[in-house]
């Protein structure tokens, strides 16, 4: 299972990277970025997965004494939780800038923005 | 007793997922978007409800949570398909050639 998730994550990163590099529309570049973001999260969670174990939440079916033998690694999950929240923050920022760019120049095509090109 | 309940639960789940399959089939076969909404979202709602009922038979202690999910879906799914159908009608989505009458378009035409 971990291998499937790892492979999917890697493929998603590659697809997102390809989309971000080849699309000319700024909004589509941001969409590709979020696809790659999902892929990275998937890879990190997959690394923490251990075969045949269960979620790190104790309840009636998982007493505290057995926890160490039956749970998967909780640290990558905590990391990814943070990564997702920060990811949406970054996306919101990029979208706000895209809106502002559209407002000033009326276009979302990256080829129309040549001020920083040399 | 428990074994009988288990079998009933399993059969309910199979019936529910069969409705899911019919929904998917309808989604592929139907000719226009309104008929696809009809076949797709409604059959799958009943399918999910039956599956939840089946799981409730297998695990009676989860009943409250499953009831809540079912209740929630019973209210949200028709609402979303109505809003979607209305949006499709407003943007003038094509209707299948077999469609005989469209009273809504007629009435909207009268007003404008």
């Amino acid at each position: 299972m971990a291998h499937i998730a790892l492979a999917t994550g890697f493929i998603l990163i590659l697809i997102g990277l390809y989309g971000a590099l080849t699309n000319r529309n700024i909004l589509r570049m941001i969409v590709s970025f979020t696809v790659a973001d999902t892929g990275v999260n998937l890879v990190i969670v997959a690394v923490g997965y251990l075969r045949g174990r269960t979620a790190p939440i104790l309840d009636a079916t998982l007493p505290a004494a057995e926890a160490a033998a039956r749970i998967i690694d909780p640290v990558p999950q905590a990391l990814v939780l943070t990564a997702i929240v920060i990811g949406v923050g970054i996306t919101a920022l990029m979208l706000a800038y895209a809106y502002k760019l559209h407002e000033t120049k009326g276009s979302l095509d990256i080829a129309d923005y040549r001020e920083l090109k040399w | 007793m428990g074994a009988i309940l288990d079998i009933i639960g399993g059969l309910l789940m199979v019936a529910g997922t069969a409705f899911l399959l019919l929904g998917g089939l309808g989604l592929i076969r139907m000719p226009d978007v309104y008929n696809r909404i009809q076949a797709g979202t409604k059959a799958t709602t009943l399918g999910t409800l039956l599956t939840l009922a089946g799981v409730a038979c297998l695990r009676p202690e989860w009943l409250l949570k499953l009831l809540l999910i079912g209740f929630f879906m019973l209210f949200t799914n028709p609402l979303s398909s109505q809003v979607l159908a209305r949006a499709a009608h407003r943007i003038g989505e094509d209707k299948a050639p077999a469609t005989r009458i469209d009273r809504l378009a007629e009435d909207l035409g009268d007003k404008s």
Partner: protein
């Protein structure tokens, strides 16, 4: 004034019920938090509706409620089977159309429930609700006439909902 107070109280009670179902326990600590949360939300949203807001709360209405659910489930299964037969048959025997039907219901919850019920029974799909008119997409149209279509689609549900919500 009284009416709004009553609406808020009903909303509070429904939210508390929802909370107890979510938590699945009646312990003192969950009830304290639940009462606090439900109270704050009910006060913040005086225009919030709940499932029972315009419910009439007479014995007859409760009876109608039970019968309504029985009828609804029967219709749900029956019409799903009909639609299944349509989808499976190779010739795809559909005859769609958008018809106009009339409803007598006045209360908001009753109208919402009516539209939802019509939508959930496959074969019919509410497209628009405006005043007393409902526009319904019908997969296998039996009649384009307003009264005949009303009798066929609306009357069954309306019969019970009228007693429940008015």
């Amino acid at each position: 004034m009284m009416r709004r107070l009553r609406d808020s109280l009903v909303l509070f009670a429904t939210l508390l019920l929802f909370w107890v179902m979510l938590m699945g326990s009646l312990a003192a600590d969950t009830l304290i938090v639940g009462v606090m949360a439900s109270l704050v939300i009910a006060l913040l949203f005086p225009d919030g509706l709940s499932f029972f807001t315009e419910f009439r709360a007479t014995p007859r209405a409760f009876l109608a409620g039970f019968l309504y659910y029985g009828y609804f489930l029967k219709e749900l299964v029956k019409s799903n089977l009909t639609l299944a037969a349509i989808v499976v048959s190779p010739s795809l025997p559909i005859d769609p159309g958008i018809v106009k039907v009339r409803t007598r219901l006045k209360s908001r919850m009753g109208r919402l429930m009516l539209a939802n019920s019509i939508t959930l029974t496959p074969g019919t799909l509410t497209v628009e609700l405006e005043g007393e008119w409902l526009y319904v997409h019908w997969v296998r149209m039996e009649s384009a006439d307003i009264d005949a279509a009303t009798a066929r689609i609306v009357a069954g549900f309306e019969h019970y909902l009228e007693v429940m919500y008015g």
